[in-house]
């Protein structure tokens, strides 16, 4: 049996990797390429004809005022959510690695929101904001009804951010916990012996050594926040007056609700490019100054 003929290689590859590669191509690669092709055609979702229209869909997407408003909201939402998720996650990771009693219990507890899908979480929070918080607020205001946070555009944005922070902080905490554990105690002790306060040791030793954890968490939270959909759908559904529609929901609506599949696909690709550029830039900048432990 010859081991370096092409047919041997192909047979070997197909035997092990055939199914996986085929599925991967069928679900990811082919639709991706076909999707790019779709953006250059005019297609209503039903007709078998897909006339070529050049860049018309991109022109329409760039001219779609609502899309860029949604994109702007997504950026604002992502900035707040990413910062808060990571600050909270880091703080929680610090607390649950500090040796207090029951730290495993807390770790497990903080992780619970991740077990539950975005749709269900959104409805749970909707109830909390619309009913429980209104009841508390009304009681505090002496019986006079207070509006739900979800009733105003800014309030709805705040609710989305809060729900997302709550959802993802526990997950990112686990990554930071792994980061804390990888920094050896002896290094910290050495720094303290050299006269560092614990805060200084944290700033000058632990945090620089955990840089890769930061890069990773920020990357994960950016890429997730940028395409947020499930929570957006169940918590606000875009209300009030479409003022909380994020980019992913706008793309979905353009394609599936208003049946502009071609334009929706172009908007999806733009979203992908924006998301990829931000994510990759962040990783490159982050990796640059990484300290090898």
């Amino acid at each position: 049996m010859k081991r370096n003929t092409l047919s041997y290689k192909v047979r070997q590859y197909l035997m092990f990797g055939g199914v996986g590669t085929a599925l991967f191509c069928a679900v990811v690669i082919v639709p991706f390429i076909y999707g790019i092709y779709l953006t250059f055609t005019s297609w209503d979702g039903v007709s078998p004809h897909k006339p070529f229209v050049g860049l018309a869909n991109y022109a329409a997407a760039f001219a779609d005022h609502d899309y860029w408003l949604a994109m702007g909201r997504t950026v604002i939402y992502s900035v707040f959510a990413v910062v808060l998720i990571n600050v909270l996650a880091f703080a929680m990771a610090y607390l649950v690695t500090s040796g207090v009693k029951g730290q495993n219990f807390f770790r497990a507890g903080f992780f619970i929101p991740n077990l539950i899908g975005g749709i269900v979480l959104g409805y749970v929070w909707k109830f909390v904001f619309n009913r429980a918080f209104v009841a508390i607020g009304t009681a505090l205001a002496g019986g006079e009804q207070v509006p739900s946070l979800l009733a105003s555009p800014k309030g709805a944005m705040f609710c989305l951010i809060l729900a997302s922070v709550w959802q993802y902080a526990g997950y990112m905490m686990l990554i930071y916990v792994a980061g804390f554990m990888s920094v050896s105690d002896s290094l910290k002790e050495a720094a303290m012996i050299d006269g560092c306060t614990p805060a200084q040791a944290m700033r000058n030793v632990t945090i620089p050594l955990m840089r890769s954890s930061f890069v990773q968490c920020i990357f994960l939270s950016i890429t997730r926040c940028f395409v947020v959909y499930d929570v957006n759908l169940s918590l606000t559904k875009g209300d009030p007056y479409g003022q909380s529609i994020m980019a992913a929901m706008h793309v979905y609506n353009t394609a599936f609700t208003y049946k502009n599949y071609d334009m929706g696909q172009a908007e999806a690709l733009i979203l992908f490019v924006v998301c990829a550029v931000i994510g990759i830039t962040q990783v490159m900048v982050g990796k640059k100054g990484e300290v090898e432990a």
Binding site: Q12, L38, V96, V100, Q216
Partner: protein, 287 residues
């Protein structure tokens, strides 16, 4: 007080503060669940008037559960979610482990490195980019949407790249080549070597992949919502969303439906908590 005693006292004080902060945070994390839980045993009218009361004017009731279960066809959607999650997870593991094996052991073949590079690159593609073409290819051209098998097939296709990447790392660093060579010399074929030697050694990674993918499949909404339109094959997230749309005016039922949607995974978490946290951590750190 000596220096040591002072330090010990300070440490103790710090721990007390940290404990308080942790408890407050913990309350924040479980508060939404508690609010749902105290309302699920109330009459609809009581939830509307007094969402914070432990027991409403109409008293304690269990009636929301059977009604919500019947209306969302709970056992059926639970079964669907279970079938889809288990099958997709097992298939993802088998297929990805095999693919990564051939890629790692034949890293010099151009096609292997090309496929691997493609898989890694594809991980940044958000689902939104693929949803329209998926519907148009599998719905418009082939007309095979609306079946559990199509959904399973898509779940596997989407998760194969990430899982292959994780198995790739595990085989690369943890499985000594010598073991396989010895087996080959003993007369095993490559196929046998993989299943008898390599696959069993991948157990920790298998656990990680299984936990991460199973959670993702169980909770996924957008893909199933595009694929499944027939009530009989809905999964839990879709059934919950549909239920909310239909019965949002009956808040008692909504509460019960939310509890039903969350309960299975919370119970599982109670038992497998250690493994799930460990699995997610190692997956997240590798990924």
């Amino acid at each position: 007080m000596t220096q040591n005693e002072k330090a010990a006292a300070a440490k103790k004080r710090n721990h007390v503060i940290m404990m308080i902060v942790l408890v407050l945070l913990f309350l924040f994390f479980i508060m939404p669940f508690l609010l749902v839980l105290i309302n699920v045993f109330k009459d609809k009218a009581d939830i509307v008037t007094s969402p914070l009361a432990l027991i409403g004017a109409h008293g304690f009731t269990l009636k929301n559960f059977p009604e919500a279960m019947a209306k969302m066809d709970f056992f059926n959607v639970f079964k669907n979610s279970l079938i889809i999650t288990i099958t997709s997870t097992i298939l993802t593991i088998l297929v990805s482990a095999m693919t990564s094996f051939v890629i790692v052991r034949n890293g010099k073949w151009k096609m292997c490195s090309a496929v691997f590079a493609l898989m890694v690159a594809s991980m940044v593609i958000p689902f939104q980019v693929l949803m329209v073409p998926l519907v148009s290819v599998y719905g418009g051209i082939f007309g095979i949407l609306n079946s559990r098998i199509t959904l399973i097939f898509m779940h596997v296709g989407f998760s194969v790249s990430m899982a292959t990447f994780m198995f790739h790392g595990a085989i690369h660093t943890n499985i000594p080549l010598e073991l396989e060579e010895a087996a080959l010399i003993d007369g095993c074929t490559r196929w046998q070597t993989f299943w008898k030697i390599v696959f069993p050694l991948l157990k920790p990674t298998i656990a990680t992949v299984a936990i991460i993918d199973a959670m993702a499949f169980w909770n996924d909404y957008l893909l199933p919502s595009l694929v499944l339109t027939n009530k009989a094959i809905y999964t839990i997230p879709i059934a919950t969303q549909q239920f909310y749309g239909t019965y949002s005016t009956d808040i008692g039922l909504v509460m019960a439906a939310l509890v039903l949607a969350m309960l299975p995974i919370l119970i599982l978490y109670l038992f497998l908590q250690k493994y799930i946290v460990a699995g997610v951590t190692s997956g997240a750190v590798k990924g």
